[in-house]
Amino acid sequence: MTSGRGNSCDVAVIGAGMAGMAAALFAAERGLSCIQVGSGGGILFASGLLDLLGVHPVAEGRLWRSPYAALAALAREQPGHPLARVDPGAIRTAFESFVAALGEAGLAYAPLRGRNRSVLTALGTLKTTFGVPLSMVAGANLLEAPGGRQPCLLVDFRGLREFSARQIAATLGDRWPGLRCQRIDFPGFEAVPELYAAHLARALESGETRERTIALIQPLLGDAHAVGLPAVLGLGHSRAVHAAFEAGLGLPVFEIPTMPTSVPGLRLLGALERVMAARGVRRRHLSSVRALARNGNPGTMTLELDGVPGGERLSARAVVLATGRFSGRGLTADRGGVRESLLGLPVQQPASREAWHQRDFLDPSGHAINRAGLRIDAAWRPLDASGQPAMPRLYAVGSILAGQDWMRAKCGSGLAIATAWAAMEQVADHLGGAGAG
């Protein structure tokens, strides 16, 4: 593989959402040199919970206890779904690998088991997900406890408007009699009318503020078997903060994700960036790919970047398109319909604009437009108008792919991680086969 200096690499990943990050990580793990262009993506809006597949079929809203059983059903009933194209064993490996990398970067996840978990949300609802951060897992354990839900204390902070323990208790109270709530002043921020979660998270990374907060909660514990807090237990050093709370309170402590954008989103983004730095992925932040062209067959590909003085040109042997959908700007909608933004690749989409949405906006079966995206061949290469791979070494992963509705199927991270893994397998295969030195 090429040594990866300066502006050339084996794989260029366009996009830094969950799919782009996963692709870059897996490229690095396969020993491919990698440059990744783009910033943030949807990761900031994530809750830190890694969904694999929670709902299938979307129209029925059926929740699954086992994501692998759900995957099997999906493969049977919706073989065109990108997740259905990936071998479940590979998905398992990909998730393990992804979570392990996050753990190395300081963001620990509870060991993955073969089943989905239920996690408390800030609205008091339960969310079905797969990968749960260690700092939140005590909550899932409580919820799922076979012997019934034990007494629990929820604490919130005066001024933190995005999180109300009282609301959660009100929503869940009748199903969880031992759930109590308390409000305290956040130490050092007593005079601040409006609090922001990340500021509290940073403050808690200081031992002094931590001690003072623990001391405020201690007298409120009562009969609680666990303590739930908004997700503010540290940012880059959440593991230490969470451990200190559990040690200080002598009880399991769990975080409840706040409304996006939240501390867990920032944590996840930070951890993924640390993963990239540690694996030597060369990042190009705040810039975007303006044009992509290929030289020779299969040859190399040239990426032109915006946002740096004089522009920058990258040369890559393979390119992974992980530019997301509309919010990620991978897809653009206009009067003529939906296009792929960078190369104008054809997008599988409803025949007319009228068919984009169901008549009822809240229709549980979702909207056709949400399943629009790129069609790909068996090697994860997007197809051009003639049905052939648009470029021999161009691959597509993540939410830009057609035939899925990740939001309703609760499979966002699963889609990103699984497709990135599968596509990178192909990339490695193709590049290896191309006889690189």
């Binding site: 949807g42 922001y196 990340a198 500021h199 996006p260 932040h285």
Partner: protein, 568 residues
């Protein structure tokens, strides 16, 4: 020349000069620059001077003072380091002038006692006088060339006093040379001397005249005999008897002699017009004028600059008491020679040119600082000057390059800091401060009344193109990420010094078309430009860049409705 007239004029000039000097030097203890200077009385400042002088005299610092006297004052070491050409010019002027002053002007009290048998018309004095005069003239020329060579758009304010001083110096030298030339060429002067020496017999007089015509440059119009060698030989014998002890051949006066030759044809006419008398009057009285006005021309630097250098040497800057510092600053106003070397080196000189505001430049800032201390900058009608001076003062980067460039060794950074203190006291602080005087909405209301409300005019677009272009912020989804990563909001836990908005709210005001409500906002002004918001914004909005642009816009738009008035 009448002795009484001479003496009267001399003493009058001396008295005037001395009084002027006292008056000007009193300012060193009177003028207050900087808030800390207001806390000390003139008496304390005089006391500090004596204490400082005493402690310097009786300590090893004395060595520093002596070294400074030679290296800094006499040899101009600092000027040498910064501008060799002007150093040469200054050295030529200085030594030429000092030698003329000592050996020529003060001959009765210096040269005569030191050199028995001194006569101004003997060698080497003829030559030396010309040499010194020429040194001064060449020095002036070099100096003017040096100034011209380093000319910039904003020359230091040298003023009519600087030109008057150079003109007077030139005038004294020119009249001196002319006077000497006239004396060389003048037949009348020859006859007067011959008479005084008793050479009246034509048999002696004619050969002497022949000799002086041939070898001493006298322009006789009535020589009766051809200048034969025998005649000259005779003349030489007469000369050896009566004249030689006082008169050397004037050719060594390498400036005056050629002038005398050039004047030969009009020598008679000059005699008839009594040129020797009025040239002498002009020469001497020009000197007296120089003496009397010394404290008020740029020549005053010859007093103030050495004092400044020696004071500097007497105590390290950091050890100055508040009283000493106060005097030191007032002294700096006088000691500045307006050389402009600081301006050439100033870090913000390109910005000064761009903004068209010379008060960014140190030599101009020094004057403005003085004007502020003296009150003239705050007089009504000078509002614009005051505002510009404030702009200049607060754009200084404190780089200290002016201080190292200054040949007089002025501690300019201290002066700038003091000046900024005075500006703040006059309600002219840095923008980050004066904006604080009102809340963001009070500013917006002022803008509305001023009818300069939200228009995306061209100058706005050049100052703040991002905030003038909807595309740069319209994609904001109000996700709060910018606020979450903002350290300034995070550290605003004390309402007394915290921010009013958040970056996300600033972006929202822009989206709502309420840009005027952001301009005076604490958030905009307290933004640390750490770029966390911009780096993390999921929509790629250039939040921090917008913040900074809003400040530039605020300086202009709020500045326009600020309506600053000098405190009465």
């Amino acid at each position: 020349m009448s002795r009484t007239l001479f003496h009267m004029a001399l003493y009058a000039a001396l008295a005037l000069g001395a009084l002027g000097l006292l008056w000007r030097m009193a300012a060193w203890f009177r003028v207050r620059i900087g808030p800390d200077a207001r806390a000390v009385t003139p008496a304390e400042r005089v006391g500090a001077l004596f204490r400082g002088a005493a402690s310097a005299l009786f300590s090893r610092r004395l060595l520093h003072v002596v070294a400074a006297l030679f290296l800094d004052v006499l040899l101009q070491r600092r000027l040498y380091a910064n501008d060799k050409l002007r150093w040469l010019g200054h050295l030529l002027m200085f030594f030429g002038f000092m030698l003329l002053l000592l050996l020529h002007a003060l001959a009765p009290v210096v040269t005569v006692p030191l050199f028995p048998g001194y006569e101004s018309t003997l060698a080497p004095w003829l030559f030396l006088r010309n040499l010194c005069g020429a040194m001064v003239l060449i020095g002036i020329a070099l100096f003017l060339y040096g100034v011209w060579r380093r000319r910039t758009r904003f020359a230091p304010v040298r003023g009519p006093m600087a030109a008057a001083f150079i003109a007077l110096l030139g005038f004294v030298l020119m009249t001196g040379f002319l006077l000497e030339a006239d004396k060389i060429a003048s037949p009348q002067a020859f006859h007067r001397m011959a008479q005084e020496n008793g050479v009246t017999d034509p048999a002696e007089l004619e050969p002497l005249r022949a000799l002086w015509a041939a070898e001493y440059g006298v322009a006789f119009s009535d020589l009766r005999q051809p200048l034969t060698p025998e005649l000259l030989e005779k003349g030489r014998a007469v000369h050896a008897e009566g004249c030689e002890s006082c008169h050397a051949r004037p050719q060594s006066a390498f400036v005056s002699y050629p002038i005398a030759r050039a004047l030969a044809s009009v020598a008679g006419a000059l005699d008839a017009a009594r040129a020797d008398v009025w040239l002498l009057y002009l020469h001497v009285f020009a000197c007296f004028v120089g003496l009397a006005t010394l404290p008020f021309t740029r020549f005053y630097h010859a007093v103030a600059a050495p004092v400044s250098l020696l004071v500097d040497a007497a105590a390290p800057k950091r050890e100055f008491s508040a009283a000493a510092r106060a005097s030191r600053r007032a002294l700096a106003l006088d000691a500045c020679v307006r050389c402009g070397l600081c301006d050439t080196d100033c870090s913000v000189a390109p910005l000064a040119r761009h903004l068209g505001n010379p008060t960014l430049l140190p030599s101009h800032k020094l004057i403005a600082t003085g004007a502020l201390a003296g009150g003239s900058l705050l007089a009504s009608g000078h509002e614009d000057d005051a505002l510009r001076a404030a702009e200049g003062a607060f754009l200084c980067t404190d780089c200290g390059r002016c201080t190292s460039a200054c040949p007089v060794g002025l501690d300019l950074e201290d002066l700038w800091e003091a000046g900024r203190g005075d500006l703040a006291a006059a309600n002219l602080p840095a923008p980050a401060q004066w904006v604080r005087a009102r809340t963001a909405s009070a500013w917006a209301e002022l803008l509305r009344q001023g009818q300069s409300a939200h228009v995306l005019s061209d100058p706005d677009a050049a100052l703040a193109p991002l905030s003038a272009d909807r595309n740069s912020f319209s994609r904001c989804v109000q996700c709060q990420t910018c606020t979450n990563v903002c350290p300034v909001v995070a550290h605003s836990t004390d309402p007394g010094c915290g921010v009013d908005l958040t970056p996300q709210k600033v972006m929202n005001l822009l989206r709502l078309g309420m840009r005027d409500f952001t301009l005076g906002s604490r958030m905009v002004w307290d933004c640390a430009t750490c770029y966390q918001c911009q780096e993390n914004c999921p929509e790629g909005i250039r939040v921090a860049d917008i913040m900074v642009e809003l400040r530039a816009l605020a300086v202009h738009r709020l500045g326009a409705v600020r309506n600053w008035k000098a405190p009465s």
